[in-house]
Every structure is written in C-alpha cells, then in structure tokens.
C-alpha cells in the first residue's frame, strides 16, 4: 500500500457506521464516530475509539453537515473519511472538501462521483460506452413531462436525478396524476438530496433489478464481483436481495459484467461502486451507478469470502485490486425496517423493549440495535440486515426463514414476519422475481390468524404478569435517568441491598 492509514472517521450512523468501524479495526485503524444529538447513546458511538457530537437531530445540521464533519476529522487527526451510504456518500462536494483538507476520501474521486452520481450525465457515459439505457428524460417541467409520457406511453416513472435508494420515486399510471406526482417528487428530492432535479423514465412492465459490484483501484484496475438481484422492493426500495441472481444465464451475466466494467473504465471509476440494471427477458438496461457501498453488499461478501469495506480501505491506501476468487454458494439478505407492512409500510418509531438476535452457521446480522435503543423519526427506518449463506439458494433460503423465526423485537413495529412470509413463499422459492413482486403477491399481506391468536394469548399473559411492566423505561434518551443520578448515594449502598 502506498500510504498507511491510521485513523478513519466514519461519516454515518446506524448499522453501516458500526459495520465500517468493525472492519476498520481489523487493520488496526483507529476510528472516530460522529453523531447527532438523537444518536448520543447509539451503538456506533460506543464502538469507535473516539466520538464527537456534530449537531442536532436534523440530518441537515449533523450527518449532512460537511463543515462540521471535516472539522471533526481534522480535530481528531483522522487521515481518512468513510461516508457509508446515504447522507453525504454521493455528494462530490463532500469528497472535494475531504480532499481539500488533505484527508483520504474512501470512495471515488469527486469529479467521477459528480459525473456518475447525476443520472443524466451517467446515462450519457453509458450511451457513449455502448451500454443500453431505458428511454428517459430529465425535467421537472410539466409540459416536457407530458410530451415524454405521450411519446413512450404510460405508465412512467418519476425519480430524483440526484441520489438513489428509491426515495422520491413514483409511478404515474395516467396523465391526470402527473402534475401532483412531479411536485411531490421534487419536494422529496429536495428534502432528501438538496437537489430538486427530476428524471422521468419509461416504466418497464416486469423488469428485474440486477446490479454488478465493481471495485477499481488508483492503478487503473477494475474488477467485478458478480451480481445481486434486488428485484423485491416496496415503495421502490429494496427489501430482499440475493446473489447469484436466480436463473440468470452465464451469457447474460457475462454481458452485464462486461457492460459494468466498460462503464467503470469509461468513467475512470475507483473504489467500490455498483452498476444497476433493469433486466427484462433477454435485454438489460443501465439504470444508474451508485458511487458508494450498497446496503446489500453483504450478499456479495458471503459468496466471494471477502470484506468490501476492507477492500475499500485497501484501495484508499493505494492498494491494488485483484481478480476475485470464484464465488461460492448463495446468499440472501433481507432488510428489517421499522415500518408496518399491514398498513402500507408506514414508518414506525419506539423503544426496543426486547431484542432476540439469530445466530449460528451461515447467519449474519448487521445491526446497531440493542435493548433500550430508541428508533427515532429522524432517519431512515433500517433496523438491521439479516443475511444468510447456503451451499445453494434453497439452503440459504431455508436458513433465512429459520433465522427470521429466531428473531424478535418488541416495542417497534417492524416487517420481520412479513419478510419471513415472503421468503418462505412458493413465489419466492420459485424465484418469480420482478420489481412488481410485492404488488403481485404480497400487497394485501396480513399476519396469519394462528399468530394473532398466539399474540392475544401472549397479551393476556403479559397483562397478568407483574414483571412485564416496563413503564420505568425511559421515553427517550433525553429523559433517560442517568446512573449519575444515584452516585451521590453510593455510600448508602449497604443499606439498600
């Protein structure tokens, strides 16, 4: 490695901040956590070697606060910053501010990020590199949008030109909905990414979402680590991802990997990134490049026996990427979210009253949750990712169903039972994958009757159990009674036994 990194600041929160800290420590790197006032007691803060409060709960003033984060890195002498995903991870100005402060940014160069992070510019690069794209146009103008829609036909898809992750995405089925949808999308895009530009695309009927993991180094080497199928989405956000993509022919895979490598080389891409495609029958269309680590990166790690954050850090240290070893087995991830799948996935908040975490062979749980943790409305509702490996897809699937059966979380409404029912279903077993999977098979999902009966019995038992009272638990972290409160009395200890 050209440079030896010593201290890494992680500019993120939640499971991904914890996950990055864990891998940085493998190299003996010291780690610095940043946190907002809402996250003072969160797991990533405790896991790091140093931690600093960078602002109030509002992300705009904390996790999106470039000046505060770069200042924190300088203050602690961090020589590298890892942005995680979301927040500032795809903001070229953050990568630039980091570089300007003589700190290594763990990600692509700002200009590459700028080119690829913008969906419109990225499409241009793709077209120039001979990679097929879905018909689309960048506009927030209602008249131009009407014209495009008339040309390609409804339904059409409206999304933020900046950022990713499905936020602000809307399907418009007919002309009458167009104006309202454009407005709402622009509003959400502005709120989420500070950039209200909108991209409109032809909406494919039954596409699969398949993406290719890329790693590039500073020496001009770019490699691909296979594909991930992320077709199972609700509200245009992935909830189940797997590798390999079931039924994808070796030929299609090779073509898509080739397209992703072409794109990455054309863009001068470095560090970890993902080229996303829609696949319909024998065609694939470039969608966008996510110039960062993806939420679903663990399925790739399990198949390739690698650690992508370690790879990112090696690349950021000037190391070279090698052609990966042949992948092995199958891996499936599901995202446990604080949301109510019985009520249109509306977000949920609360205090974790009890947490039971699955374990054992082939099971990985990436989560920042602990008993007592608060799930606040300030950030996205990802509670944890449960990932299972198997010698083949059926083994991975069986393991994941069982692991979800071992999971339980009390106090915050979540989608774990919903995920279990999907993954245990015949449709998922048979890999009837498309981005409409949820709409087609699981839109009106309700928890099963026998489980409701069991819940009612459990509620009766709990109602009658004096030990079940947790009214003393703090309502939120600010109100939390600190152990300090009692310190003055410690000499009374003997009398309180």
């Amino acid at each position: 490695m050209a440079r030896r990194l010593k201290k890494l600041l992680v500019a993120n929160r939640g499971e991904i901040a914890l996950r990055i800290i864990r891998s940085a420590r493998v190299f003996g790197l010291k780690t610095v956590a940043v946190y907002s006032a809402a996250d003072a007691t969160s797991a990533h803060v405790g896991a790091a070697d140093e931690a600093i409060l960078i602002g109030p709960a509002e992300a705009a003033k904390s996790y999106l606060n470039i000046a505060a984060i770069v200042a924190a890195a300088k203050q602690f002498g961090a020589d590298a910053i890892h942005p995680g995903y979301g927040f500032l991870s795809e903001r070229p100005e953050f990568a630039q501010a980091t570089a300007d402060a003589q700190i290594v940014f763990v990600g692509p160069r700002p200009e590459v990020m700028a080119a690829l992070g913008d969906k419109v510019a990225a499409r241009r690069i793709a077209v120039a590199a001979g990679v097929p794209v879905v018909p689309g146009i960048e506009t927030a103008e209602i008249s131009a949008a009407r014209e495009f829609a008339a040309l390609v036909g409804y339904p059409i898809l409206i999304k933020a030109a900046a950022g990713g992750g499905g936020r602000g995405m809307r399907v418009v089925a007919e002309a009458s909905q167009l104006e309202t949808a454009l407005e709402a999308a622009a509003r959400e895009a502005t709120a989420a990414f500070g950039d209200g530009r909108i991209f409109i695309e032809k909406y494919l009927a039954h596409p699969r979402h398949i993406e290719i993991q890329i790693l590039g180094d500073d020496h001009g080497n770019v490699v691909a680590l296979g594909e991930r199928d992320c077709s199972i989405q609700r509200r245009h956000q992935k909830i189940i991802e797997e590798s390999p993509a079931p039924g994808l022919s070796a030929e299609m895979r090779a073509k898509m990997i080739d397209a992703a490598l072409k794109l990455a080389r054309a863009a001068g891409y470095t560090n970890a990134g993902t080229a996303e495609f829609l696949v319909e029958s024998d065609n694939f269309y470039f969608l966008e490049v996510n110039a960062r680590l993806q939420v679903e990166h663990p399925v790739t790690e399990m198949r390739f026996g690698c650690d992508l954050v370690c790879e990112q850090l090696r690349i950021a240290s000037g190391g070279k990427v090698d052609e990966p070893a042949a992948p092995r087995g199958a891996a499936i991830e599901c995202r446990i979210n604080a949301e109510d799948p019985e009520h249109d996935f509306r977000p949920a908040t609360g205090t974790v009253l009890h947490l039971r975490v699955p374990g054992g062979p082939g099971v990985r749980f990436d989560s920042h949750l602990t008993s007592g943790a608060e799930v606040t409305p300030w950030y996205d509702g990802l509670l944890g990712k449960l990932i299972c490996y198997g010698a083949d897809r059926e083994e991975a699937r069986g393991r994941l169903v069982n692991a979800l059966g071992e999971f339980s979380l009390l106090g915050v409404t979540n989608n774990a039972a919903y995920l279990r029912d999907i993954i245990a279903s015949d449709q998922f077993r048979d890999a009837k994958l498309s981005t409409h999977f949820i709409d087609s098979f699981f839109s009106g999902w309700r928890i099963g009757g026998p489980e409701i009966d069991a819940a009612i019995v459990a509620a009766l038992i709990t109602a009658g159990d004096p030990q079940a009272e947790t009214g003393a638990l703090p309502q939120n972290n600010n109100q939390r009674r600190s152990p300090w409160d009692g310190l003055g009395n410690f000499e009374l200890w003997g009398s309180r036994k």
């Binding site: 009520h343 977000p347 950030y379 059966g405 774990a416 069991a454 009612i456 038992i461």
Partner: protein, 176 residues
C-alpha cells in the same frame, strides 16, 4: 378483557377461562383455544398451540401491551384506553400523529365534511411522506396544526365530529 391492536379499530374480546399447570384455556370472541405456556430463561416463553410452538415475549409500557410471536410483533391497548378517543358514529374522534415528524400539508379546514379514506394531512417522518386519512365520514371540527410545524408522537392533528347526516348509527370502523 377487551383489547385493540394498534392500527386496527376492531375490538377483541378475550379472557383466560382456566389454567392448569402449564395449560391455559382462553376465549377469543366466541372461540376457545387451549395452549401450553413454558417460560424461558430470558423472561419470554414458548407457547404451544395446535401443534405449533411459538416463541413469545411480552412487556407492558404505558397503556400498551407489546407482545412478539416469533418475528411478528404486536401492540395491543385495552379497549377502554382506545375508546376514550372515539365518539359515537366515528371511527376516531381525533387524527393523531402516528410518529413524531413535520406537518407537510394540511388538506382540510375547520367545518369541512370528509369521506372515509379522504386524505386530511400529510406528515413527513423518517424521510417518508405519510398521508393520514379519515377512517370514516366526519366533519372537521378543528384543525390543530399548521404546515411546517413539527409534532410529537400521538399529538392531535385534527379533531373530528360526527357528520351531520349521521343519526347515531355506528358506522363500521375500517382499517386504514
């Protein structure tokens, strides 16, 4: 006792009829079921019913009873607590914030007549917009928030009164 699941306005009438050792006989509505409960070391237990064993866990907090059945989690409230918020002819007399957030849009004014399912207010929380609608036909009695305002969990956003056409008939509450 009478329970309601959070997010569901139907009452569940359930009680323990008898217990004998680990065996519990419970009435749910007009059905009866017999289950076995074995406590676990972690404070939860295993509930065996109809040939299946469910890991369960439960805790009470404020008015709620939280329970989990394997990966499924539930929040119940005693019906008396839930009923306080209801008025004759209305599924709910108040529209409350299901979570802390920011009021993005208020779509009605005092005095408006609204239909079941009609959107009333849009709030933003966890980076998502959530639209809150009327659970039954109603008249908007009082809008208590304005756009841009941040609200806490459970804050009353809009007060509703029965629609003038309603002549005391209980309209079937419907889940949102």
């Amino acid at each position: 006792m009478k329970l309601m699941r959070a997010g569901d306005s139907r009452e569940i009438d359930a009680e323990v009829i008898a217990r004998d050792g680990n065996t519990i006989r419970v009435r749910i509505g007009d059905r009866e079921l017999v289950a076995d409960f074995t406590p676990n070391a972690d404070g939860g237990g295993i509930l065996a019913n109809d040939g299946r064993r469910y890991p369960i866990f439960g805790a009470r907090r404020k008015e709620s009873i939280f329970v989990s059945v394997g990966p499924a989690s539930f929040e119940f409230k005693p019906a008396e607590a839930a009923a306080r918020r209801r008025t004759r002819g209305l599924a709910a007399a108040e529209i409350t914030a299901p979570m802390p957030g920011k009021v993005l849009k208020v779509l009605v004014r005092d005095g408006d007549l609204v239909e079941a399912g009609q959107p009333l207010v849009v709030i933003e929380a966890m980076k998502m917009e959530t639209t809150l609608g009327a659970e039954s036909a109603a008249m908007v009695k009082h809008v208590r928030v304005e756009e841009g305002q941040t609200v806490d969990h459970g804050a009353v956003l809009i007060e509703l009164s029965p629609p003038p056409a309603s002549s005391g008939r209980e309209s079937a509450p419907r889940a949102r």
